[in-house]
Structures are given as structure tokens and as C-alpha cells.
Subunit: 267 residues, 2 copies
């Protein structure tokens, strides 16, 4: 029988970027850690801690190595915080840590491990434009590093068939310039071309920038790694300067609202 | 031409319950308000503000009236905070406010309105059990006050066909005791009976309690209004004390893991 290791590991998310969107629970968990492990730019969001806090910054594409390093440090008795952006459980480090435990040293499974929830990008993106996630919605990562395009396409088709509002994470990167265009084509074949499409870049930061379009006129080239894309449901619509999805179904957009709306769309 | 009203309205969420899961941005927005409008129990989470802050508490089932009151106060020049639980944009007050604007006084559309994102219940529920939302996921409210059961069923079928992890909000209430059982039957007909089902009650509070089951043995009667239900994707699995969905697809659970898992399930 192995003795329970003394260290601990907490997996946190810094939220979408602005310090005032990081929860106090996360701030406290980071302050208590002896070691911070994370992708460099996320660690840079953390103000300097106690003098003896060690930072282990790494590249963005080595999540599993980073998780193993964190588990190893915790098993040595350190109090480790793994730092993600957003919410650590949504397309971020929490799943990577549990994957590393499953494949790794069996003693890691008895470590004191905790996940702290945070504000994930789609919530900040939605808040920036109104309330587009006001109805049922789904979140799909377009990164095909870890899953096949066939799976992504199957989920896009299902999301269209269910008339969900759709949040697309990781819409584009230098290594994957064509995914978003393909995804929007899959959706365009199944949803009205008048469906609102929102590109929200750097949501939850002072640099936040929104591009509004429709499935019929959207330019996928305008998204980058920092963009969160929201594609509306059939009821998603404009009111004043905002886009929202009513809680109630079956409320149609009136002709005058459609006219006001189309005049305001920009790409 | 109407002059732009001087008041303001911010729509905030207190997070899942514990004060340290409310963002500093939300705390500040509430402190600045002259008037707080919200469902009584959410207002009770807010510590007393300045001496002249007025609280307008209301019943939970009158979202649209509450939104109209808030807009009316803002149009009179007050600085109003509409207080939801969780994230205000997810099955909460933000959509109700935009719905009230669409149907109401045209001058409301020119008010200074802002939405502050927050931690929604499914993120806290996921964090409490590991990382079940580590893959693509969707969120469905089972309340049929505002949409038909046909629509809910269509979305459950699509979610199963897309092999999404599924977060079910509003799974049960005294007025709707049978929805969750029906929803789980729809999913059971389309997903393996070994699929993990998690009931997380009062996530993100000190009273948090988790019931783990599978689609084959789940008892829907154990959910109440404060429960968030998570139904796994085909890859969602147990490791140690945690449940997670790998980021990578096509990684099968080994026979020994399935055995260890089934021994730990409780209903």
C-alpha cells in the first residue's frame, strides 16, 4: 500500500482575461500555491505572489506534459495550481490532468485534487453582445488536433437539427485556417442564411471587438485564435444594439424588426 | 426625438451560490447600483450596500414584470442592477430584459445597458465531480413553461445523435415532476445504458452533494430544483474519484476501468 502523497493540486481558470472576471476563490487558490504550472500568457495574468512561489511556464501545445509536471510536483509534496484561461473544465486543463492521471503513476489518483470553476469565453462573448445564449445552446471546439473532422461535422449537423445556439471555440489557428469556413458551410446548408453569426474577439478584455454577420454573408477569414464564434438559433434576433435569444420559443421576428436588423449588420 | 435616458441597467449573476464564486466585476456593479431588482433569494446573497440602495425583491415566476420594473427605474434615471443567480445570460434574467425591451417602451432601447458574465451552474457542477464537460457539450433547460415538450425532446434527440455531454438545467420542480424521467427515457433509448449520469445538488455551495448513476440505473426522483444533471458522452468515464470526458476522442475505457467504475456507482 502506498502512503497518500502530501501535496495538493488545484486546477483553476483565470477567466476570459480581465482580472475582475477571475473569481475570488481562484485568486485565493493561486495565492496559496507553492508552484504555478501553465501556458506562459495565462501565468502572465497572475500578479506576483509570495516570494517563494515557483512558476513553470510552458508552450500551449503540451497540455499532457504540463499536467504530468503538475502531478509530479504535487506527489513530491508541493501545493500546485494548474492555471488555464477561462473555465478550466471547458476545452482547457482539467481534462488533461485527469487524462494524465489515467495514463500515469497510480499514486497520482490519491492526490488531493480540486477544480475551481471560472467564467468561460462563451459567457463573456455572449455578455458583450446581449444574451444570445438565452435559449438551449451547445459548445463545440473546432480544433481537430484531438478529434476527427468527421466527429466535428456530426456535432455541427446535430446542433443544427436541434436548433441550438452554437458557440464555436478554437475557430481558427495558423495550423488550421480552413475549419471555420467548413463549419459555417455545414451550418449554412441546414439553417436559414439570415441566422445571426457573431465573432467576438478578446471577449472579457478591454480589447473586445465584435463583428456581426449572418450565415449568408459571414467572412470566416475574420476570426483568429482569440475569437469566439456564436451562431444563432432560429429565434436569435436583434433588439436595439443587442442580440438575444428569447427564452420563449415560437416568437417570430416581426418584418419591421428584420428590416431594422439587416440595416445594422456589418462584416 | 426622445432624449437619451440618464439611468443605467446592468444585468449580473451572483454565480452558483458561494460568495467567492461571484466575480469582482459583479460585486462592483452591484455596489454602484442605486436599485437592486431580483428574485428574493438571489438578493439575499448580496451583503448590505450603501445606505440608500433600494432592493426590489420579487417572486421567481415573474421575470418579465421584474425586467419591466428594472427598465422603468433606469428610464427614470436610476442606476439599476438586475440580479440573477449563476450567469445572467444562461436561463436567467438577461434574455428576459431584452424581451421586455422588444415588447416595451421604445425609449428603453436607448438606455445604457450592460451584461456582466458569471459562473453558471453547470461549470460549478462539473468542477465538483472532475471534468465531465471536457469535450463538446450542450445545455438544455427542461422547463416547459416557455417552450413545448416537442422542442425539448427534439433537442435531447439531437444531443444524443451528436454524442454531446449534456447539462440539464431546471430538471424538476413541484409543478413539473415528470420531465426529468421523460428526458432520461429519451436519452436511454439512444445512448448506452452504462453512460454516466451525475446529479449535482447545490453546486458551488458548501451544501454541494453528488449522486452518481448511469442511464441504466438512475432514479430521476432524486433531483430537485437545485440539481444540475450531467449526462455523459460515449467517452465520459471515471478515473479515481473523478468523472471526466477526455479531450481526445476514440480512447476507449479499458475493461478494468469499467469494473472499478461500476463498483463505485451509487444511486
Amino acid at each position: 500500500m502506498t502512503a497518500r502523497p502530501r501535496g495538493s493540486l488545484v486546477i483553476v481558470g483565470t477567466g476570459p482575461g480581465a482580472p475582475d472576471l477571475m473569481t475570488p476563490a481562484t485568486t485565493r487558490a493561486i495565492a496559496r500555491a507553492t508552484d504555478l504550472v501553465g501556458y506562459g500568457p495565462y501565468l502572465d495574468r497572475i500578479p506576483p505572489g509570495q516570494g517563494d512561489q515557483t512558476r513553470h511556464a510552458s508552450d500551449n501545445r503540451v497540455e499532457l506534459d504540463r499536467a504530468r509536471l503538475a502531478l509530479d510536483l504535487a506527489a513530491q509534496g508541493r501545493d500546485v495550481a494548474v492555471v488555464s484561461g477561462g473555465d478550466p473544465g471547458v476545452f482547457a486543463m482539467a481534462a488533461a490532468v485527469f487524462e494524465a492521471i489515467e495514463k500515469g503513476d497510480p499514486c497520482w489518483a490519491s492526490l488531493d485534487i480540486r477544480v475551481e470553476p471560472g467564467v468561460t469565453a462563451m459567457l463573456a462573448a455572449a455578455a458583450a453582445v446581449g444574451a444570445p445564449l438565452g435559449g438551449d445552446f451547445c459548445a463545440i471546439s473546432l480544433s481537430d488536433n484531438l478529434k476527427s473532422w468527421t466527429t466535428i461535422e456530426r456535432r455541427l449537423v446535430a446542433a443544427a437539427e436541434g436548433d441550438f445556439v452554437i458557440a464555436l471555440y478554437n475557430p481558427a489557428s495558423r495550423a488550421r485556417p480552413h475549419q471555420l469556413g467548413e463549419a459555417l458551410r455545414v451550418l449554412s446548408a441546414r439553417k436559414p442564411l439570415s441566422t445571426p453569426v457573431l465573432f467576438v474577439r478578446a471577449a472579457g478584455t478591454p480589447d473586445c471587438r465584435v463583428i456581426e454577420a449572418t450565415l449568408g454573408n459571414v467572412d470566416p477569414g475574420k476570426a483568429d485564435m482569440r475569437t469566439l464564434v456564436i451562431v444563432g438559433a432560429s429565434t436569435t434576433r436583434r433588439v436595439g444594439r443587442w442580440i438575444y435569444t428569447p427564452r420563449r420559443e415560437g416568437e417570430r421576428t416581426s418584418a419591421s424588426q428584420r428590416k431594422a436588423s439587416s440595416g445594422l449588420l456589418t462584416t
